[in-house]
Each structure stands twice: as structure tokens, then as C-alpha cells.
Subunit: 439 residues, 2 copies
Amino acid sequence: MKISLTPAQILVLGFAGVILAGALLLMLPVSTMPGRQTGFLTALFTATSAVCVTGLVVVDTGTHWTAFGQVVILVLIQVGGLGFMSMATLFFVFMGRRIGLRERLVIQESLNQVNVAGVVRLVRAVLIFTVITEGFFALVLAARWSFDYGWQRGLWLGVFHAVSAFNNAGIDIIGGFRSLTGYVNDPVITLSVAFLIILGGLGFAVVLELYNFRRTRRLSVHARLVLRVTASLLLGGTVLFALLEWRNVLGSLPLYGKLLASFFQAVVPRTAGFNSVDIAALGDATLFLMIILMFIGASPGSTGGGIKTTTFGVLGITVWSMAGGREDVELFRRRIPPWQVYKALTVFLLSVFLVVLVSLLLCITERSRFLEALFETTSAFGTVGLSMGLTPHLSPAGRVLIILTMFAGRLGPLTLAYALAQRRRKSAVRYPEEKIMVG
Amino acid sequence: MKISLTPAQILVLGFAGVILAGALLLMLPVSTMPGRQTGFLTALFTATSAVCVTGLVVVDTGTHWTAFGQVVILVLIQVGGLGFMSMATLFFVFMGRRIGLRERLVIQESLNQVNVAGVVRLVRAVLIFTVITEGFFALVLAARWSFDYGWQRGLWLGVFHAVSAFNNAGIDIIGGFRSLTGYVNDPVITLSVAFLIILGGLGFAVVLELYNFRRTRRLSVHARLVLRVTASLLLGGTVLFALLEWRNVLGSLPLYGKLLASFFQAVVPRTAGFNSVDIAALGDATLFLMIILMFIGASPGSTGGGIKTTTFGVLGITVWSMAGGREDVELFRRRIPPWQVYKALTVFLLSVFLVVLVSLLLCITERSRFLEALFETTSAFGTVGLSMGLTPHLSPAGRVLIILTMFAGRLGPLTLAYALAQRRRKSAVRYPEEKIMVG
Ligand SMILES: [K+]
Ligand SMILES: [K+]
């Protein structure tokens, strides 16, 4: 009997396999600190969170796990992040081969050719990029932390957090669920981590285009959209966070600390999950702003999650084109084909549906406030990992819900996008048009 | 100097004029009960709520206003509801004339021809339909209420609530902000009111098509979509409400009361605003369900508000078509043109943006819970009028916010839809296609 699997099925099964293996390793006694217990659900939750680079945790990573356990988590993060970034970029390449000439040309310009050799070349490029970036910032962070903890622990902290930041995992080993709140005024740590998060969240295809820009002198519409949406969200997020929290959580900080903390909190919902201020102390309006940023997330083919900057961008441009009275959706003097707008719409609506459904279920299972349930669900779906504090106290039913949401949030949008791109076809029969009154 | 106004500008100015005139009438001493005061903001709020058939109130309609004041409110409701229904249907007709043959044919089939005579004919048909429907149910309700209050007050209650229900206003004169909670088990009152709400919310074009169905033997795609979405939302809303509240607010009711109350509470968020159970006692999950129903609202060209059933339907069908691997959006063997999907998307996203923005502002001005702010804002935007109890306690800033939201929610989607339909044009330059990675 021969079983043939689609790439999407391979992806789902592969991730599920790595998660299960990770959960089993974390259940070994050597992973857990003496005097603590790790049940299956806790191990599964932690492994899912690491592989899906979500970062939500039910036990404190810094104090519950031994050094061995932390290494397991680090490896899971790296495998999950790298695997996802490579797979997403490959999907992009295959999609380009299947459906359009232009995309393929952009990729081919970077990679020369798309075939088995091209795949190997691509994965190697991703690997080299990852190692160099993580290595450099691990040293920067280690140098900074060695002042506080000596070089040995400083190096381990540097490596762990560089990997966790670049892969947008957001898991920390500072201890006490504190994340980076102890370093809210520290520019070396917060700016290094922010830079790693942004770079990891751009998507490898865009990074390659930027790298080759000096030679090619052109950027694809995709790359320009990614850069513009990313910049807008970072700027808008920083300004709004500062305005909303100036006298609240930012109140006790000096001016440069206020700005640094606002910028950092605008970076992390997309979709890193570190925080340098106490999330539970934020106002409802700020929390909702962060929910929106978490939902949008990072860019396609990156380590980040969410519905993706380009999905958000295509929807925004559609509104803009309609408001301008145009019949086509236009961007940078290019027309976006209808089915791509439909696809963005589909990804958006299905994601809204999933997040709202799980939030409502959590309201019931956890008897929590709606905003709190929405925050944790969006955080899980967008593989963000920020928490208002609900996650460590989840009931078993709630844990299972969040595990499934993390998995769906990591693989769902990508496989959905891939499946939608693959199966696109004109109908055998093209029906006559008919209009409907809307609005 | 000659000033020429677009139909949309006439609509906005006309509604604003009626609201101001109503506010001035309500400020007359004869409108207010002895011993009570009516400030300008209260009068403006009440007049806006009546003309926009929203139904949110800051003072109790049954005890604050005299019979004269209540008559003013009733007239404002009728002018607002009729005016809006006529204008929306006329817009539909003009839109049909401008942009498509098929729509015009459907309308013309009902109205014979579209010209000045056609307009007069149409408005007269709307008027006759309104008077007959309201008259019949006013008598039914009056007969029921005369048992409790005698024929004189019974008749006034019957007329007021029939008009208020058919126009989807949802303003009651029962007293004490109680709405219809005293009649949760009463089938005559709740089913009569529910029927009026549903009929008023279908849109006049659909009612006409249904009326002519025996002769024409066909329904337009528009009418079929309206009927299908309406039926689905009523059924789904009833079932979910019953499931979520069976042991909560429905707990003390007999079985048929549970079902009757669930059905009634599924009808009213779209977008009538009466309630037969205490809204503040509902669970968070149920409140969010009602927010979704309020946001979707009724059908185009009706007295109801919201983004409209057809907007929701077009978005849902787009997702369905994409999931089925089609390149076109197809429905009932008809293809929906891309710009109509874009338009539905635009109405949806701008509405989400408005509702979220106002909710965040209310969180700040009223220091309220996010869900509470979202509920009142959606209720105002969708011209629903349900309240968790925030509205009577609004600060002046909050009142102004809600007044503007009611006005925008009543006129915004329609004029937006009209403006978008009017200005649609192909670009002079058609740019080459370029794809973007989404999801
Ligand atoms: K994360
Ligand atoms: K209403």
C-alpha cells in the first residue's frame, strides 16, 4: 500500500511529530527541577508552545525546567522556527512555480533556479542567515548579561534569548514569569531583542531581496508592501501605546524609557511575546490595540504568526481603492487579481471566526472576562505568547483549547493559503453576473 | 449663487434637520412631565435616537415624557423609518439605473417604470404597506393590552409599539427602562412584535418581490440571499441563545417560555432593540453573540441598520467559494462581480473600524469595561437600541459620541454604498497584475 501525502499534510504531520517527541523529552525526570512535577498536558503544552514559537507557558521556564529541559525547549524553538521559515519560503517558491511567472522570477533572481538544487540552496541560505544573525546578537546580549551574572550564565542567557527572539518565540528564562520587565530602561537588551524580532518577522524572501537590492535595484510589490505595512504598524503602535499608557504603566519611567518601552511594546505583539511592562496593568483600550497588532502579526515566510502583514495590507488597499472610486484593486501601479483579494478576505474571516469561537469557549470553560479570553486566544492564534495572566491558571479543557489554537494558528493560515493557491481554477461553467444590494 | 446637492447630501441634511426640529419640540415644557428637566443634550439624544430608529435612551420614555412628548417621538420614529426606507429603496432604483440592467429589471417588474411617476408610485406603495401593517398589529396589540390597562391606554400602547416595532426603533413606553421584560412568556405580544420587526427588516424591495411572487414566479438573487441569511441568523441565534442561557436568565421560565424568549432575543438584535429578558444579566458569551447579530443587522432598504444581511452574505459566500477552490464568487448559479465583493469588504471593514474606534474612546471617557463599551457602540451603530445599562449614565462626552455613532450608523453605510456605486469606474490605465503572498 502506497500512501502519498500532500506537502501540507507532510507539514502538519512533521510538526505534530516534533511536538510529541519534545513533550516526551520534557517528561523525562532530568528535564524538571527537583521537587517539581511535569504532567503530560504541561509537557505537551510547553512543547507545542516552543515548536509553534508561541511562547505561552503554564509553568515558568526559568525556574521549572533544568538546564537540560531548557536546552530541549531551545532546540524545539529552533527546529520549529527554522522549519516553518524554510517550509513557508518553499511553499512560496512552489506556489510561484504553479501559479505565476512574476513571483517565480523574483525568487529565481535570488536563488537562481527552483529545483532540488534550488531547494537545498534555499534551505542553506536560510540556515546561514539564521546562524549569523543569532550568533552576533547572542554575543551582544551575552556581553550585556555577563555584567549581571558572570560570563557563563550570561552566555547562556544571551544564546537562549537571541534564539527565542529571532524565532519570534518569546520564551524567556529570566524566571518568575517576569519576561523582560526588569530591563524596561535597558537599550542594549530591548533594542537587540526588538531588532531580532523585526528581522525574523520580515520573512526570508524579503530579507533576500533586501540583501540583493544593491545589485538588483528593484524590490517586488510583495517586499514593498511588507516593508510599508511593517513600518506603519511599528510607528502607529508606538505612538498609540505611548498616548494610551503615558500616565499609566509608563508613568514612573523617564522620558527615554517611556519611548523605549512604547517602541518595544509595539514590536512584541507582532509576534514575539516578550514584554518589558506588566501586561495585566494595561488599560482596556491598550489591550485591545495589542490584540489587533497580535492578530495582524508578522509577514509571510517568517518565523512570526498572525494573519500576516500582507493580508492586512491587501484588505486595506481594497478599501482605499474602493474609496477612490476604482474598479480594480491597485497598488504601486500594479493590479491585484480578484482571487487574491478573495483569499486575503478568506484568511481574515476564518481567522476572526476561529479566534472569536475559541474566546467564547474559554469564557465558558474558564469563566473569564471576554477581553481576557480574547487576549489569550489571539496570543495563541498569532503565536505571540503575551499573556494577561490567564494561561498559567487554565483548566485542563482550557489548556487543550489553547494547544489546538497554537497549532492551528501556526499551521492553519499557511496551509490554508497553500491549499487555496493550489486548487485555484476557473469554473467549467462561468455563470452570468448578478448584482446584490450591499451596505 | 446656485448650490447643487447630491442625493446623499440631501439625505444627510434632511435627517439632520428633522432631528434638530424634533429636539426643539422635545425641549418645550409641554413635552416633559412636571418635576422633570430636559436639557438640550438629552433632547438631541432622544430625537437622534428616534429619527435614526436606534432606540437607545438616556431618560425613560414611559415616565420622563408627557403624552405630547411621546407623540413627538412617535412621529419622529415614523418619519425616520419611512424616510429611510423610501430613500434606500429609491437609491437602489437609481443605482440600478446607473449600473446594471438586471437590478433595474427586477425593480421595474415590481414598479413598472423608474421615473418621476415611478418614484411617486414607489413611495405610495411603501406608505400603504406601512399603514396597513402597522394598523393591523396596532389593533392586535391594543386588544391584548386593553385587558391590562383598559381600551384607551391599551390602544395608545398598541399604536406606539406597533410603529416602534415595524420601524425597528425599539423605543417602549412601558416605563422604568423595562422594555418588554414583563411579557417574556406572552406569545401575543412577543410574536406580534417579532413579526413586525422581521417584516420591517426585510427591506421593501424584497417584500414587493414576495408580494408579486404568485404572479412572477421568480425571486432575484438579492431576495433569495436576504431570505436565506435572515432565516439562518434567526435560527442560529435562537439555538445559540437557548444553549448559552438555558440555566442562566432562562432558568426560571417554563419550556415554551424558554423557546419564546430565545427566539425573541434572536430577533431583536437585528435591529429592533426591544428585549424580554434583562440584558445586563446575560453571560459574556451571549453578549458577544448579540454584538455579532447587532453588527450584521437587517437587510438593505429596510428600517433596520447594521452592515446588512447581504454584506454578510457576500462575505460568507466569498469564503465558501474560495474554500471550494473556485476563482469566481458564485451564488445561486450567478457570478458576483469583483467590485461588489470589494464593496462588501469595504463596508465591513470601515464599520469594524468605526465601532472599535468609538468603543475604545468610550473605554477612556466612561472608564467602562471593553465589552460594555463595545455593546453600546454596536447597538448605536446598528441602530439597535439594546443596552447593558451604560447609556443612561453616559457622560456628556459619551452622549456626543453615541449621538454621532447613531447618525453615522443610520446614514453612513447607505450613503457609503451609494457613493461607492455611483463613482465606480474603470481606471484610464489598467496596470499589469502582480501577486502577493498572503496568509
Ligand atoms: K511568539
Ligand atoms: K432599533
